[in-house]
């Protein structure tokens, strides 16, 4: 798995700052490979909840979310319907008056929202991870803001809606964050079933998804940019979370809701991704050209999931897969490396809304085969083929929409490869594995307090049992996995 020199400004899981001269002096894939251990985007999707949706529907945030961005079944339907459900009157109704004229369907309220995050993090061994070489090295690093996002999220026409946003982050610039624009329609059958279908364009695999067991939406929903959680080895599809790969996808989906009360859902999605400009990747990338090697032809992505709703309970099982062939340099010539990802996921949710208790648990597993056939030609020599597996299980409880707690465990394991994870990468010592192994596991625990549904305070603790191949002295410089343990205070609000 490779890693971009400068990941999306929209993602809170950002990259090591590679000195520019060094970047220019080496082929892209040299560094991509050298930094491959940095699963910067692995398990920490950005926290997204959009007040403009609430303004559009008139519904409280808690109709569609438990805690952000965890969706309820109604939230999933809202997304399936293309964010178009509205209880606002259109500004004009030309359609009824002059039938041949294209209608104007402007919202009376422009669907703009702002989201601000700030954080403070204390890492047991100091901040020697992703900002270690050029950033703060002391304890208690504070980010204000950690992120600022501006959204245009809501209905555009009767069938078209957007979840579109740009984000400012510590790189000092705005960049695209995970976004989609979708068209949706539905049909009802006499037997009571409903077919919802749509087309969408997005910049992040799994962003169009409905469940929080996929990489772009999985828990923990936020963490500090200094968090070692961002450094867990990750597969391509995980690294793409938060618009962190310079790709754009065109796809379609359908959801078949059947059975009594349409309580059984079958969801299918197919997308093709291709290198794109306009996908933010750091300070010089907003609407600029990508510096990474482009995809060869298109990278297909497939998703299937089944959900069942039963009163307060609903559960989902699903599978996903993606096949990406990437050129090692921007020249886009010669052979490509190949990242073949597939995985399984599940989610179970309990919504006792009259008792004001909710619980959601997720489980996911993703396997990646990394075929580095192109890299020897450019001087980067990992194993011919590596594998990487990641898994997580976590659950979140929320009482009265005010007090929350979450607990989860994560794993990464795969083929030892010094070129990807060892000293040869040239990474800071904290990110080097002495035995070249990606094996990492640990737990995350957090407490949440919501002053209001759009203002949240989180105390988060993550502890590592194993880090890059060992529990103790994993990097050969006396550093133990526990030196990456972190306590963080996170603030989030949106309006």
């Amino acid at each position: 798995m490779f890693h971009p020199f400068s990941a999306s400004a929209g993602s809170p899981k950002l990259s090591i700052e590679v000195p520019k001269p060094l970047r220019e002096g080496l082929g892209a894939m040299h560094w991509a490979g050298a930094l491959a251990l940095i699963g910067l985007l692995a398990f920490v999707p950005p926290a997204h909840a959009v007040p403009s949706f609430a303004r559009q529907t008139g519904w409280s945030c808690s109709v569609c979310h438990t805690i952000f961005p965890q969706l309820t079944p109604i939230g999933r339907l809202f997304k399936l319907e293309g964010y178009t459900t509205s209880n606002l009157a259109d500004m004009q109704k030309l359609k009824q008056k002059i039938r041949r004229m294209a209608p104007l369907e402007l919202n009376r309220v422009t669907p703009l929202s702002v989201m601000i995050q700030a954080s403070a993090a204390w890492i047991q061994g100091g901040h020697a991870n992703q900002f270690g070489s050029g950033g703060t090295t002391g304890q208690g690093a504070v980010e204000f803001p950690e992120q600022v996002s501006f959204f245009y999220a809501g209905r555009v026409t009767r069938n078209i809606g957007t979840f579109f946003h740009v984000t400012y982050t510590h790189t000092g610039a705005f960049g695209m964050d995970d976004s989609d624009i979708r068209w949706a329609e539905h049909e009802t059958e006499p037997n009571g079933s409903t077919l919802i279908y749509g087309a969408e364009i997005n910049n992040t695999p799994t962003e169009p998804d409905l469940w929080n067991s996929v990489p772009d939406w999985n828990w923990p929903f936020a963490t500090s940019n200094y968090s070692p959680l961002r450094d867990i080895p990750a597969t391509y599809i995980q690294q793409a979370a938060g618009a962190s790969e310079p790709i754009a996808g065109l796809g379609g989906y359908l959801a078949y809701l059947f059975g009594a009360g349409e309580s059984h859902w079958l969801y299918l999605e197919a997308d093709v991704y291709r290198s794109a400009v306009g996908i933010g990747s750091g300070t010089d990338q907003f609407f600029g050209a990508a510096t990474l090697g482009p995809t060869r032809n298109v990278a297909p992505y497939l998703r299937i999931a089944y959900e069942q709703n039963d009163e307060e309970w609903n559960w989902e099982v699903g599978a996903l897969g993606m096949d990406a062939k990437i050129y090692p340099t921007t020249a886009a010539i010669g052979s490509t490396d190949r990242f073949l990802d597939y995985g399984l996921d599940g989610q179970i949710q309990y919504l006792d809304l009259t008792g004001n208790q909710t619980f959601t648990a997720h489980v996911s597993w993703i396997h990646e085969t990394e075929d580095w056939q192109a890299d020897p030609a450019v001087g980067f020599k990992p194993n011919p083929v590596d594998t990487l597996d990641t898994a997580s299980i976590n659950g979140q409880y929320l009482l009265n929409r005010r007090y929350g707690a979450g607990l989860g465990y994560f794993w990464a394991w795969g083929t030892p490869d010094p070129a990807l994870y060892g000293a040869a990468t040239g990474n800071p010592a904290a990110l080097v594995s002495a035995n070249g192994s990606p094996d990492t596991n640990g737990l995350t625990f957090e407490l949440n307090y919501l002053e209001a549904q759009n203002a949240e305070l989180t105390l988060q603790y993550s502890a590592f049992n194993k880090y890059l191949g060992a529990s103790s002295n994993y990097n050969g410089h006396g550093q133990n996995a526990s030196t990456n343990n972190m306590l963080a205070l996170l603030m989030w609000f949106a309006f």
């Binding site: 079944p73 459900t85 809304l353």
Partner: protein, 209 residues
Amino acid sequence: MQRPPLQLAPLLLFLLTAAPLACAALPSSAKPPARVMTSCYMCHSTHGDDPRFGYIPRLAHQSETYITEQLKAFRDGSRSDPPGEMYMWPVSQALSNRDIDLVADWYASQPPPPPQKAGRLAQAGSLIFHDGLLKQDVPACMSCHGPEAAGSGIYPRLAGQNVEYLIEQLRFFKSGVRHDKNADIMHMIAIHLTDRQMRAVADYLTSLQ
């Protein structure tokens, strides 16, 4: 060709004019109105037979008058209770009178929802429903809601309703949280009911069709 008797002319004229007008007014078609599919179905389901959550009411075969009245009461704010304010106030703001008529017609014309399994207190609930609790000043529910709990006019159908919804509404009536023009009647009844008796009535009603 033999002409039809002249006496039939008014009848033919009536059929030719009234029938299309009647259809245009409120079609009870197999296809749900647009409003149902852009809003209502997300919580109540398309046919109103199996809502997403237990605290959301089943609307299938509900009294058309009752649905109409409640939607208008949500819209003008005269019906209030916590879920109603959170979900139904915003939704009802977007409904015109015709929307309300179409939605009410749609759900009222759906087949009754299938009965659910009777709860363990259903037998006691049946007694309360049919006979009331004289010592507690609780009249028989059937005196307004009908012997089969089918409802009529402004009195809602309760047969086959979700247990959670019934209990929640009884609690709202009891605590005075729910307000609407008929809430006082139910408040005076519900204040005499214990939680167990509310559960018993709900356990019974949900098993009816």
